[in-house]
Subunit: 410 residues, 2 copies
């Protein structure tokens, strides 16, 4: 190890996306390219939690040469992930433990790829570094299919998830249209508090008035009786009604619709664990309207479908990764890489930097002006916003078995 040059370490945290490894590719490839200024390029296995246990790898050994390229078409988190929240109290002994380990590995550049909770880690580490006068540079790389980070036009991972949702809903419409008999299909889409991904289902619509006929986000109150009336009204347009709902839709009292049916728990960050509003609404429609009803939970494929990677999303994730490394070399720290949209038509984006303290633990929801007044549809402004983000398909390398070939740690 060259002791004059500082080393780089990068980790992934939170739920995976289809392009979280493209962000990783950006950081690692730029780190390796900057070999006059950066020594080794390490990965922490299973995020900050694995790092504390000494679980790291060296990218020159783990993915030598062109193997690194495989990251760009591999969903999931190559480095593994964690859901570990650093203590609020910067006096906690975990901080000196972490920085001793950074010292041991001669780390000068720390990158963390993740969402809200991961930016909380970036914030705390950068504040602790400042407190102790460490010159380690701590940079956050955004990642979330939920698209709910503030101070960025959108987030890596959203475009591919939106492309998956739009194309899958379009296929579900084809599937539903084969029979003439009245039917209702409820499609449940990820999103606890922000309805970005559910809003993307509007992209499945070929022309105005097509399915999906109803789209409900958590941003507006859901009324079960009004919902049933709207379904009845939809039958005059189409016997096969497709409804897209966020998993986190709530009524006017703030009760999650899924809570009418299911027991709920909380995850380690105190988030409510939701399941089943689609199933609940399926039963409601069948029992109250007496029509054929089914529900489809799009589930984890929303965040790990390789076939539906948006080329735009993939390229931007790589750009954000590279940009973060160059920013750290310029001395930036405590920042998250953001996307700044400079033009809608034609779409143009440049990367930027934002103070991570202004980002962590905040959520950006869909503007109410982008939701129709009755809360059951999405406006054209959203189309202008989202359409560029789902453009382009990516050719997946196939293995000897004819299936997409992914890279993995072992």
């Amino acid at each position: 190890m060259n002791q004059e040059k500082k080393n780089l370490i990068v980790g992934q945290s939170g739920g995976p996306t289809a392009v979280i490894n493209s962000s990783l590719y950006g950081v690692v490839s730029e780190g390796l390219r900057q070999d006059r200024r950066i020594g080794e390029v390490y990965g922490m296995v299973n995020g900050i939690e694995g790092f504390l246990q000494g679980n790291t790898l060296n990218f020159r050994e783990a993915l030598p040469g062109t193997m690194l390229e495989g990251l760009k078409t591999t969903p999931g988190a190559y480095l593994g992930s964690c859901r570990y929240k650093l203590p609020e109290d910067l006096e906690d002994p975990v901080y000196p433990r972490l920085f001793e380990k950074f010292e041991e590995m001669n780390i000068g550049y720390f990158f963390y790829i993740g969402g809200n909770d991961s930016m909380d880690t970036v914030s705390k580490l950068s504040r602790y570094a400042e407190k102790i006068g460490s010159d380690i540079r701590v940079i956050g790389e955004p990642k979330t299919i939920d698209n709910d980070l503030v101070l960025t036009d959108h987030t890596p991972g959203f475009g591919s998830a939106a492309r998956y949702v739009a194309s899958t809903v379009r296929e579900i419409v084809l599937d539903a249209n084969v029979y003439e008999k009245k039917s209702v299909t409820i499609v449940e889409i990820m999103g606890r508090h922000a309805g970005w991904l559910t809003a993307a289902s509007v992209l499945a619509r070929k022309t105005a008035g097509d399915n999906p006929l109803l789209i409900y986000l958590p941003e507006t109150a859901f009324d079960q009786e009004v919902f049933l009336e709207k379904i009845e009204a939809c039958f005059s347009k189409n016997p096969n009604v497709i409804v897209c709902v966020s998993e986190g839709i709530k009524d006017k009292d703030g009760t999650f619709i899924c809570e009418y049916d299911n027991s709920v728990g909380t995850d380690s960050f105190g988030h409510k664990m939701l399941a089943g509003c689609g199933k609940y609404l399926e039963n409601l429609v069948r029992n109250r309207l007496g029509v054929k009803a089914r529900s489809v939970e799009l589930n984890v494929s929303q965040r790990c479908s390789a076939a539906m990677i948006s080329e735009t999303d993939q390229k931007e994730a790589v750009i954000a990764g590279e940009f973060g490394v160059r920013a750290a070399l310029k001395g930036e720290t405590g920042k998250m890489v953001s996307y700044v949209r400079t033009s809608d038509l034609p779409y143009a984006m440049v990367p930027g930097l934002e103070d991570v303290n202004e980002i962590c633990n905040k959520e950006k929801t869909v503007p109410l002006s982008w939701i129709t007044e009755d809360g059951s549809d999405i406006s054209d402004e959203f189309l202008v916003y989202a359409l560029p983000l789902i453009q382009g398909s990516v050719k997946l390398p196939l293995g000897t078995d004819g299936l997409p070939a992914f890279v993995s740690r072992k």
Copy 2:
């Protein structure tokens, strides 16, 4: 209309698949090519049920020129479908009504694309034709993701569904692997009585001993206690255990596992309507083993994912469609087009013809010799059988919105 030449009519029936429109393409394109012997090429909209209501289209008008090509990358059933069972009694007045309509439209060639129940329609129509001395030729084109038709090596639709299952399970494995904490993911796959599609999940395994670690088909009895013991044993190999189960798994008494949890109904053919063995097993694992558990129902994407169309499946569906038309012109009737495998390595298939009366209302299940003795895994014979069927990916035409462009009737 040229009264010297007889016309062709084709319909689709039962659940859609990713390549049912490729079969349609084969029939229609060959019908149009044979224009010296065949007059018009009609489609019945919503199968035999729609035909009875006079709902037909002419392919020369509906999909002129190269638009017909779009069928090959469009999932769902372009013509619409039905689940209409013709009466057992050939004296029923519906038969003369149907044949009068055939006469009116000068139909000489009748093609029906579907599974077991559709072959029942082909059987009845061909027997009635014989009974009344009609020279109309009635040919069945196989279609089912379930792969459960007898007297054919496999069925169109299975290869693409198997490719979807294998690649999606491989992605779910990536998604599950990101955390270190013990977890169990139950993947519920379509298949009431035959486990072919669930068996295809073994193709997701990169090397022996990889996930999915447990695979359960309806062909063998499922024991809940033994299942829990096996999961515990799996944790020594991998903290993240993926289990693939057919929707129709049963215990030794013949009780569907989903019935331990859910109410059931029957569809119009008297099939039990199943839902939720994945959800049931998820709760069983969580409650009994105290580990993180989730379930993923692959749902309708298994039969309508365009991105995972197997090129082999698509090409074979077209071949079967074309072959059926040529067979009808040679005078064949009351037959289903079959696939005859002439070689495993290299894989080679030729189309054949089988007596439809020997096919309808029968089901081909996975040979017990292809399932391991304890009923929790699939043997290598299945790999040899299934691997050729999922080969090749298909480039989807994209529309101006950047999403896959599908053809539709309006």
